[in-house]
Every structure is written in structure tokens, then in C-alpha cells.
């Protein structure tokens, strides 16, 4: 599979690199964000493309990708759900929320591990990931579907209803 970068995406990336005139290496984060927004996840082809673009070795990109949990190396579903598991949310029932979301979307998390944090529903519509703080501790438990934040979630249905 050869990787195709649409011209407008590449233009966006090129523009972001111009913000770092001293060292292209500094543009790693914005470049990866643009790529993940477009491709949904960062495959090895994408990592290697980014390395070539920034005149780095692929390992230098992989170091960054594996450091930030926000970067995904595996394909998520159409709607990616992130459930917070940090203290306030954990105490307010985020584990139950996660279990309920999984049940309602048919997601099986048995293969989830440190290196494979994402589980996808069989129909590919939903994926779920337990994440660290989403910066809304006062309204725990919280989760995000794509870029939408859901606060004080009592019931998985109120999150999922607009996506089914």
C-alpha cells in the first residue's frame, strides 16, 4: 500500500514547518497532528513519510508517537470514544461507564494492553480507549467522542444516542 498525501494536507504541513525556522525537528508535533487528523491514526508508512519530510530518521518520529498517548498507531472506529480514568472520574464511576459503553457498542476489550490501548467494535463504527485526565475533573465522569466532551455522564446512552 503506497501512501498518498493529498496536496492540501501537504500544504498544511509545509506551512506548519515554516513556524520553526531553526530546526525542522521542532515541527514534529504539529505535523503529526495534521497527519493523524487526516488519516485517523499514524501507520508506519505515515511515520516514515513524516521522517523524510522533516529530514529525520523514522525512529525519531516513533519516539514521539509512542510518548504521547494522544497519537494512535492503530486504526480507531468511525467514532473514537475516550473515557477518562484519572482520579476524579475513577471515583465518579468511569470504570462502570467504560463497561457500559463497551456493552452497548459491542466492543470487546480483552486484547487491550499497554501497546494496544484501542478496542474497536465488530462493525467498525465505534472504538474505545481508557485515557488519562481530560481536564474536566469538576464534572466527572467525563468522556469524549471524537472532539465532543460529555460531562457528568450517568448513562452510556446519553453519549451514544446521537451516533447510532
Amino acid at each position: 500500500m503506497s501512501l498518498e498525501i493529498p496536496p492540501d494536507l501537504e500544504a498544511l504541513i509545509d506551512e506548519s514547518i515554516t513556524h520553526y525556522p531553526v530546526s525542522k525537528r521542532s515541527a514534529v508535533l504539529p505535523v503529526l497532528h495534521h497527519l493523524q487528523t487526516h488519516f485517523r491514526y499514524l501507520s508506519s508508512e505515515i511515520i516514515e513519510w513524516a521522517a523524510a519530510k522533516l529530514e529525520l530518521e523514522p525512529i525519531h518520529i516513533l519516539e514521539v508517537v509512542t510518548f504521547y498517548p494522544g497519537f494512535r498507531q492503530e486504526a480507531p472506529g468511525k467514532f473514537h470514544i475516550r473515557v477518562c480514568r484519572t482520579l476524579s472520574c475513577a471515583m465518579a464511576g468511569s470504570h462502570e461507564l467504560l463497561a457500559s459503553l463497551c456493552e452497548k457498542t459491542g466492543i470487546d476489550r480483552k486484547n487491550v494492553s499497554h501497546h494496544h490501548p484501542i478496542a474497536v467494535s465488530p462493525d467498525g463504527k465505534f472504538s474505545i480507549e481508557f485515557v488519562e485526565c481530560l481536564a474536566s475533573c469538576g464534572s466527572a465522569p467525563v468522556c469524549m467522542v471524537e472532539d465532543d466532551l460529555y460531562e457528568r455522564v450517568k448513562d452510556a446512552d446519553e453519549v451514544l444516542k446521537s451516533y447510532f
Partner: protein, 571 residues
Amino acid sequence: MSEPTTSDLVDVQIDGVWHQFPKGTRIIEACRQVGVEVPHYCYHPKLSSPGNCRMCLVQMGTPPRTAPGAEPTAPDETGHLPISWSPRPIIACANTVSPNLGIRTKGDLVDDCRKGVLEFLLANHPLDCPICDKAGECGLQEYSMEHGVGQSTFRERKVKKPKNVDVGPRIRLDDERCIMCSRCIRFVDEIVDDPVLGFTDRGSYTTLMVYPGRELANNYSLNTVDICPVGALTSNDFRFQMRVWFMRETKTIDTNCATGCNITVYARENKIYRVMPRRNNEVNSDWMPDSHRLSFHWIDGEDRLSDPMLKAEGGFRTANWIEVIKAAAKRLSGLSGDQIAIVASARMTNEELYVVSKLAKQLGSELLATVPRQGEPDGYLISADRNPNTNGARLILGEKAVSGGLDRVKSAIQQGQIKALLVFQEDLIADTGLDGVSLKKLDFLLVAHSCANETTAIADIAVPAACWAEVSGTMINGTGRLQRLNKALEGPGQTLPVWEIARDLLRALGSDDNCQSVTEIFRHLADDVAEFKGVAWGQIGDQGMPLIETGEIIPLLERERERKAAGIIVG
């Protein structure tokens, strides 16, 4: 007025004693220079200093700041200001000395720092020293004994990481043993321009890895095993072969090319188990190529000659030295000088070459040659000249022998002018294009070589000669540096060094030459060959000495010097 010679020096107090160091000296180096050891893992003088291991924490102090309006503190009778000690430690590797700086490498603060750092490093370490190759020379073992607490307060489970990872053709990685010093990453990045290593999953899972699909395969990869302070990177070749404390170390030099990398040979019971580079900032810095490092296995190979062999009906029979030397002298004595040619090797030491040159004089032979070995230079340490002692051969046998000598010998043999040929440490059929048919035109062929080969197979007399690891002597490298080899092993069976073989032949031919040792030969050589004049064996030392100007440079060293000048490395 300040003295121009001392203006760049600053006064630094280390563990209560005042010293002077040039401005810009790293604290860790200042301590080393005055014999105070600062434990460290990530710091390496030939690599950049990221300061990430925190093992070299020391306490520092500076003169107290004068409060506004207050009288400045007066210097004491030694001219130094009092030191106001900081309660916060600093790393000694990346900080430099400053005027009136105080450093403490002992005391409660430093002890606590070292204990804490070691406890963290050991928290996830597998403690599998009994099966670890590094045991006995491991930085983690040594510092734990010296500075550690002995007991861990860690009660959680250890983090599991990849083990027995094939990171390249010659190296295996155990990520659980890794202490994340990043020396290997910096080495492949900064020295050999092959940045395939990196840390992924930074955090509690920090994992050293090779980018998937790539390999740590460059010809300098085994240097990462040397600089690994623990047993994370191990050499496939040495893995599980020998405990390090059983081996005897011999300082000598590599003979695979004209660079003459300084090495230490590790041997036990007359067998080499590993070769490691030895620091020489004029030759190989701290490094050596894998190809050279691993080329010792033939030394205890099956094809070593162990006894002198005389051609007999249907093949060879083993003989003793007295017999073969007598036989050789008899075959040579009837011949005139122009009927005899000698092929020596630029892989031989100066002392061996010198005795062979005497033999040539005794025989009246002027047809002398060495076998050239040209290859591609690698731009790092490997010289285009794959002979280790071409410069020695040039000085001792003469320029004519080194350039074009072999062609003259070949054509003289092919034209049938040569009746007898003496070959030392070369396989003519394999390496010179001379074939068995032309060599059979000779009436007499004597070959002294470490191994049986195609040329020894057709010789009239084939005798076992000691190889580089079995002799002491000197060689002159590509840059003109005189360097010493030291004998690490005994040769197999009746093996003798070439200088003894040539000397015995000399004496059998009527010479009264009776040199008994390499040092004695060197003395004669220094009297005889202009370039060696005035040089004494004892002054060569372990680091060698410049002898002649050749104009050759070693590219890796040039780049290291630039990095040193730029302040990136200590050098």
C-alpha cells in the same frame, strides 16, 4: 597583572583540596584529573552529554553573595573566598568549573543522591547477574557495591520489557537490563551516522529499540556493547562464552589494516574469547570496526600449521626444526643471490621484517617483495591499505620491495630465473595470482605461514609461523605511528615467530647473527635503519609514538577533534 599562562585557569576546591583547571573543564573531568572518581553511566568523553542518568551528582558551592551595602568577604590566607554550599546537587558531567567553585564528591548529600539513583535503577532491573555476560565488569554491579543501599524499598511488580531481542546481526538486546543511559543511541547517531536506535514508550516502560524493519548492522555496532554500562547489549559472538574475570588481558594492536587500532585481547588457556578496542586518541579513539574485532577465530582453527613439514613421497612428513632448517640451508647454499627471491608480508612486525632483510643480504638476494592489499577506505577507521605494516616494510625492506616488488618476483619466476623462493606469511596462490604451475618451476619453495593453504601445499618445506597474537614486536601504522604488539598466546605445536625461523636459517647459512629476543632485534634495527635512530623499545609504550610523517589522516579522528573544538565532547 595576571600571568598570561594562568589567566585561563580557575581555582576549584575538590573534596577540600584546591586545584587549578582550565576554564571550561567539565567537573567530572576535573575530578578525574586529580584522582577523584565520580560514578557515572551516561557520560562518555567521546559522546555528547545529555546528563540523564543522574549518577554523577555532586554537591557544589560558590562564594557567598555579598548583601547590598555589606563589605565583600575577604579571601583567606590562601587567596580563596569561603564557599557557601548549595543544598541542591548538580551533575558533574555537563557542568563546568568556575572560579572559586567548591565540589564535594563525598558527604551525606552525595551519598543520599547515589543511593537514591541506584535504588531507582535497580527497581526494575532483573538482577540476573549469574547469567549475564556483563557480570564482573558491570557498572550497575560496581556502583551498587560501592554506593548502593543493598536493600530495595520497592514493593511493586517489576516492569516487563522485551528480552533477547535481535537488534542486528551481531547484537542482542535485553531491555529489562537497560538503564536508559542512551550511550548506544548517541554512538550510532554521532559517531557512525546510522541512527537506528531510540527510546520508545518513554515513561515507566521506556524501551530501547531499533526502528521496526531496520537493523543495528553497521560495521561499528559492537562498540555499543563496549560502552553499554550494563548487560543490555551483548555480543552474539561473546555471549555465554566466558566469564570476564577468567580472562587474561593483553594490550596489543589490530593488524587488519594500516590504522592499527589499539586493542585488548582477552584470552584464557591460550584461546582468545574477545577483542576490544583500547583508547588511543591518535589512532582509533575508543572504537574499532566489527569486521576487525571478530577476525580472530581462525587463530584456533583447524587449518593452523603446528609442525614443520618436509615434502616426502606422496605428500609431507612432519619434521623438527633442526631437520628442516638444515634441509633448507642445504637447498639454498648452492645457489647464487640472483636465483633466490623472498616474499615477505607487510603483516609482519618490523623485527620480523628486519631479520628477513638480513637473511636476504646473507643469501645475496635483491629480489624482495611484499604483497600489497588495497581496499576501499570506509571513511571512519578502516584504511585503504589492509596491510598493517606497509610503512615498516618500506623502511626495512626498501621502497622497491613494497612498490612493484611482487610484479618483479612474479615475472622472474615465470621467466624461470628464480630457482628458490622463500615466502613468509603470505599465501601466494590465493592472494597474488601466482599459480601452482609457475611455482612448480621453482627448484625449492619454502613457506612459513600460520595456516595450511594452497601455497604451503605445494611447498618443499612448509613451516608453522606465529601469527599476530603470538608475537611481540612493533609496526608502523598508516599515519607513521610506531606501535607495539604484545604476545597474548603461544602458537600451536612447534610454531615459532618468523624472526626465529629467519634467524635459525641465517645461522645455518653461516651467519653469526644470534639475536635472542625481539627487544634485541629492535636495538639492532634502531642502529641500522635511519628512521628508527635513537628510538628505544621502552619509550614506545602502550600508546605508540609518532615515527615518520606520511600525511595520512584517520577520518573518524578528524571529526572527533572538530566536535571537541566545538565543545560538544570532552574528547
